[in-house]
């Protein structure tokens, strides 16, 4: 649904509502980044947590890349000044053939309307629910301590949109894992979907490091990883998500940059008990795959030090269609 169409509809449904002026994505304004955290993780590889070079030349093994985008904008304000938001999410798998990237199956594009039910007049909510059944999301649902501050409401909406995006990405990743046999590089973690988190062909590459799964000396080890070095493999447990194996990998020479420059965290499925002894070799193998994707550079994206080109291609594609 186009924003203008939505604004027209809302103006008709809610006479006291007024359309928002701009179309700036709220994600750009939101301060709601996750708080930095250090979390301990269980080592899966034998020996101490350490840095080790990735043995062997980069191997181009990924046949596809998966990424998603989201965009949240204010559609209208109710008479009471509460923002009614439009959140669009999209996800795509871009498959590589003859060095070129093409869309695998169809991309997923969905738009939902986000409103804080607890802060709306009941007649307003019921009017919205009547017309937008199935795409209306209550941003206050399940939140007991959500205050009425517009920023808080905005951040809550953005979280809901993010959740929606992750669902879309997981849905596509599951389809890939069910249908294909070649490795898929997923931008972000793979633990959100049990099917993906246990697939041998799904590899998650996480660029953000608000949460670091190391402490003390191990943290120093990670921050001082050199180009083409990886950390030992560790387990990331989660109560709500699947458990996966992970390790840090330095994609580029960090000389002259901050310690997180060129640093990514890879996620793969936990091998079964028989294969657990070879988890290090598996980490080397997957690291070779990821290192093969450092070129071409993902410039001009500002995250190019950590982003592989296939993921950038997904984003550009979604920007064009979503």
């Amino acid at each position: 649904m186009k924003l203008r169409d939505l604004q027209r509809q809302l103006a008709a449904l809610l006479p006291d509502a007024r359309a928002a002026g701009g179309e700036s994505a709220l994600e750009l304004l939101s301060q709601g980044n996750d708080a930095p955290r250090l979390i301990s993780a269980t080592l899966l590889e034998e020996g101490l947590f350490r840095a080790q070079p990735v043995v062997g030349a980069p191997v181009p093994a990924f046949r596809a890349f998966l990424d998603g985008t989201q965009k949240t904008v204010v559609a209208s304000y109710t008479g009471g000044g509460v923002a009614l938001l439009s959140g669009s999410v999209a996800a795509v798998v871009r498959q590589r053939r003859d060095n070129r990237l093409y869309t695998w199956r169809a991309p997923v594009v969905e738009t939902r309307i986000y409103a804080p039910r607890a802060h709306l007049a009941s007649v307003t909510w019921s009017t919205l629910e009547e017309h937008y059944s199935g795409v209306l999301v209550d941003t206050t649902a399940g939140a007991t301590d959500l205050i009425a501050h517009p920023f808080a409401l905005r951040d809550a909406a953005i979280q809901k949109v993010r959740s929606h995006r992750e669902q879309m990405e997981q849905r596509l990743a599951e389809q890939w894992c069910d249908a294909e046999r070649d490795p898929l590089l997923i931008d972000g973690g793979i633990s959100g979907s049990a099917r993906v988190a246990t697939s041998e062909i799904a590899v998650g590459v996480v660029k953000s490091h608000f949460t670091l799964y190391v402490h003390n000396d191990n943290l120093r080890t990670v921050l001082s990883l050199k180009h083409r070095e990886r950390s030992s493999v560790f387990r990331i447990p989660s109560a709500s998500r699947s458990t996966v194996a992970s390790w840090y990998l330095r994609l580029r020479d960090p000389s002259g940059h901050d310690p997180l420059w060129g640093l990514v965290r890879a996620e793969i499925a936990i091998p079964d008990a028989l294969e657990m002894a070879n988890i290090g070799k598996r980490a080397d193998e997957v690291s070779q795959w990821v290192l093969a994707e450092v070129s071409p550079l993902a410039l001009p994206d500002s995250r190019w030090d950590k982003m592989v080109y296939g993921v950038r291609d997904c984003e550009e594609y979604l920007r064009a269609i979503a």
């Binding site: 990924f62 070129r100 071409p296 001009p300 080109y309 550009e316």
Partner: protein
Amino acid sequence: MTPIQPLGRVVATERRPNTPHEFHFWTALDSPVGIGTIVRVVGRDPVNGVIPNVYGIVTEGFSWTDLASPLHDVMGHDGSPADSPVHQTSRAEIRLYTAAVLRHIPEEPLQPVPMGTVFLADEADVEIALRMDGYLKEGSHTGIPVGVYRAGGTDAPIYLDADFLIGPEAAHLNITGVSGLATKTSAVEWLLQSIFTHFPEQKGSIAAVCFNVKGPDLCFLDLPGEIDDNDRLLYEQCEVPPTPFNDVQYYAPYKSDGVALNTLRSNEALLENVTPLTWGLREVLQYAEVLLNKDDIDAKADALIDFIKENVLDKRFADPMLERPHTVTSFADLDAWFKDVLRALEKKDDQSWRTHHVATIRKVRNRLSNISLRCKGLVADDGATSDLPFGSFSDRTVYVIDVAGVEEDAQDLIFARVVTKLREHLEKRDLGVQHVVVFVDELNKYAPGDGPETYVRKMLLDIAERGRYLGLVLFAAQQFRSQVHRRVVGNSGTALYGRMDGDELATPGYAVLSPAIKTKLATLEKGQLMVRHPHFTQPIFVRFPRPAVMRGRDGVSQYPAAQAPTLHSAVLRTLRQLDPAITLGWLQDVTALATDEEILRARNDVVRTRPTDVRKVFSAHFRATVAPRTAARPNTPAPLPAGPADDPYGF
């Protein structure tokens, strides 16, 4: 039948919007689109209930990747092109093309090109796009194939409209291109073949007069040349037989010795259709101003020349002051007349004669007498004339006038007189054909954009501006179009461009062409042309076959020019065209006591008068000679009787 696959999609942005005359589209990286490709856009939304179709020709191409800066690629390769890492993924890349609109269907309302799907134009599309459907339809077929459009697997013959190439709606053709890349002369030869094949019968007869101004270019048009299978295919597609011209007549003046013809087509085997081109005083005096510059021809001199033309030339002229009556038919006669006039003035010690001042008379005598020297070989002192068959031109015949080896003045004279005679006869409708194509190369020289006004340039301007009403069509070629008079090129309805020089393309006349079109023009292969024609709203690129005639250098190699003939053999060759029974022995006997000049004069007289009894008229020019007899042995007296052996007085 598989559906036609789209080639691309129309795109427009605020920065790069589409207009009614230009649009943009992108294609796959491996699409066969190139500069000059004709495409068809099928609109998305109907207008007045009709889905619009827009035809365009690609004029510019762009390509880029998602790189924001070239520096990023350098970084991606660690600064070393040789040691570049293996890219597993090629960057996203676009091929974006700009096309100039050829035609909208429907034509109204004229709107910006809509968003839509782009297809390669097929043969039928090309016909519509170039508005050829208007003159290729049954019943009014006036199409003249100029070549074949080839792009993306589409081969489509491109037709010029005879009404706009030969007249009367528009006319004339101008072709430009650098020398040596077989565009100008070859293209004209091919186009003449095409015209002779396809010129509609209802439009009448047509002939061509070609001036061979350099080398042996046009000297072998009636002999077959080498063509390959690609050429044959082009001939087949254009429905033109791959054969040399059926009827070609060659004309060339003599060399200055008056004996040998001044042409590279002088091989004995090819002389059958070569005719000398010689003019006498009458022919030259009509065009005296061609050879006399403005300093020569002031009002007084002009008046005297007019007086001579009206009162002296070809008439019996008597004046009490002159020693004798004069009948001036040749330069020799004219010189005798001048001498008589000047002698009379000196005798009377007078300064003027019949209002003409003695200085003017001397000046005009000097200039006119000089003509026969400057144009020796073409102009005969004795008034002999051998000319083109004005009045009996034949349909589909090429008349080649070889002026390649002739002095510049003589070239100008030949050109001016022939074209003027053509115009005169076409005005009177008694040339023998209704249309004549005149091919002139080196137009830079004959109709320059700057420099002094010359008779030849005035005449070319006249043809360019008025020739189409008469059926006199100018096909002109030059290396630098920008240096030709604007009115000459401006009046050419059709323009062809071969490989172009970069400096020439930088001149303002080519500003309307896109940089990509200019680049293509600067790199055109042999056998390719860019065509502009009144029906085509944009220039079109075509391929044309090699003309099926022997190339000049092949002709010279296969038919080497004859050695300079002796006087007798040259005269014999000429006389035998009139009387094949004449033998060298007879000729030598008849001319045994004659000088070279007397023999040539007799030959010229025979050529001019073309008598029934060639031997009689020719031999009448020479002094009677005693019939040769074998000397008889004189009678010797009877020998004296032998003396006695003992004769004491004997020796």
